[in-house]
Amino acid sequence: MEHDTVIRLRGIRNQFGAQVVHENLDLDVYRGEVLGVVGGSGTGKSVLLRCIAGLRPPQAGSIEIFGHDALNCTEAERRAIDQRMGVMFQDGALFSSLTVRENVEVPMRTVPGLTAAMRRELADLKISMAGLPYIAGDKFPSELSGGMRKRAGLARALALDPEIVFLDEPTAGLDPIGASAFDELINGLSQSMGLTVFLVTHDLDTLHATCGRIAVLAEKRVMYTGTMSDMLDVDHPWVHEYFHGPRARAALDTKERIA
């Protein structure tokens, strides 16, 4: 099976003061896959996400997105790359003074030729695709529950039909039913829209349900990548504990029961 690499990280180093978070980190993300990024707290999963999304340049290394060098490019090139990516932040990061619909319309305003009526209809479509009821579009983020804010954040991330979406802990803080609905949503979107998903998560059920490939961050780099069954065979103590702990077994049982 040949892989079309959409994101290629080589030799990334991130550090805050004297504290090195990533050292010599390599990672490839292939087109159309759902890549789950796991790691203990403080291993820099979110830092890595921010780094690829262009919010925080790394101290060393190279980032290639869609075959373009994302670090040494003009601002216009970077914006072109950004338009092909969507980011869903942990708590949605919605603009609090805009309604959900206006939030989803914000990225659409950068597209020339779209009329207000088109933007509105497309925003309503994205809100519905993210699994929110129609009336949620008129509400302000502060009037929504945490789970709904996450969905609204996803709707905004999907506003321009990006090729890659970054999801930062999409199911954290959701009830199990809401979390599995979100997993299904991610699966459905990645299949029908051909999305590449970069998913930072701690949720083993989500990993089982959605991720075709898993990357484990440990010892300041991506230690292992592979499918779920590859991960179960890894000897590294942390990885073993992560994928064989009581919670992991419970998640595996659930999956087998469903299958």
């Binding site: 003074s97 779209l114 088109m118 695709m129 129609y134 983020p141 321009l160 039909d161 829209m193």
Partner: protein
Amino acid sequence: MTEVQPIGDKAQIDSADPDFGLEQHGDTWVLSGELTVRSLGAALPRLMALDGTTLALDLRGLTRFDTAGAWALLHLRDQRQSAGYDVTVHAQTADQKALIARVEQAIPDAPETRTERRSINDVLAAIGQGVVGVGRFLAEILAMLGVFLARLAYLARNPSQFRLTALIYHADQVGWRAVPIVSLMAFLIGVVLAFQGAVQLRQFGAEIFVVDLIAISILRELGILLTAIIVAGRTASSFTAAIGSMKMREEIDAMNTLAIDPATVLFVPRILALLITLPILGMVANVMGLFGGALMSWIELGISPAMFLTRLIEDTSLNHVIVGFVKAPVFAIIIGVVGCHAGMQVGGNAESLGQQTSSAVVRAIFAVILADALFSVFFAMMGI
């Protein structure tokens, strides 16, 4: 049947997007190129302008196709079908079919939006709500004052729970750090009064009365009033912003669950700090105002500082100073209570924080001036 709403401007039909192509092959229109959110602005009007009672669309030439494109096709189909026409879409790949199916399933049924016209009743209702709102606001302010006094009394009986560090911190913030601006303001007011007074009084040869003019106006009114206005601008806004952002991030709720009383921890140190420092700031303003006035009288009228001082002590009743200082604690409480109250009104979003901050300043300044006017009437009736 819902009314067909045109989407897209006619003007855009001519400026066809080069990426999107539409060609007729027999009965079928073949779409080619890109039908995505980026080409939608140009593509949709062209699609909507297609003629014919039956339309067949073939997607075989599309290189890129996304949810916006699928929506455009479904939108066209729905509009034609509701007008009794027929549209068929021939998707070529499984991906296209899946995407169209997914979008079709997700298109929301928009409830009909009603545009309501404002009637006279709405206007009256809005006025009524405004009046009730003012009444409620005054009640809330009184409640806030009550809470402050109750907690103050409680702390007087339980001094161990009093947060001295917080009080000193806030006294530093609202008092000490306001000294430069208050001093400068008062000095300049003194200079202006002396200068203007000199011009007027010289006509009557009554230059010496400029001392009375400066002393009475500064000690009785301007020193404390202008200080209160500056403090209202500086401090009411900072109280609102600090308490409001804590409210926004649920820190106040956290305090409540931890059995920490927000009024004791947040309101008492702030209002008390104002209560202590505003009279001191007023005194600083009085001294600086008199200094500015004396300096200008010396330069402009040749009234020596010694003469100014003698005249000041002999002719100015102590009543003026007392009248000035009686107002200071009242102004302090007004500013503190209005600022803290506005902070507690902040809702969940950043916009309400800004709104409340600016309205706190406006209300505090207005209330200070109103209170000053009431004091003037009161003292005039009492003959002080």
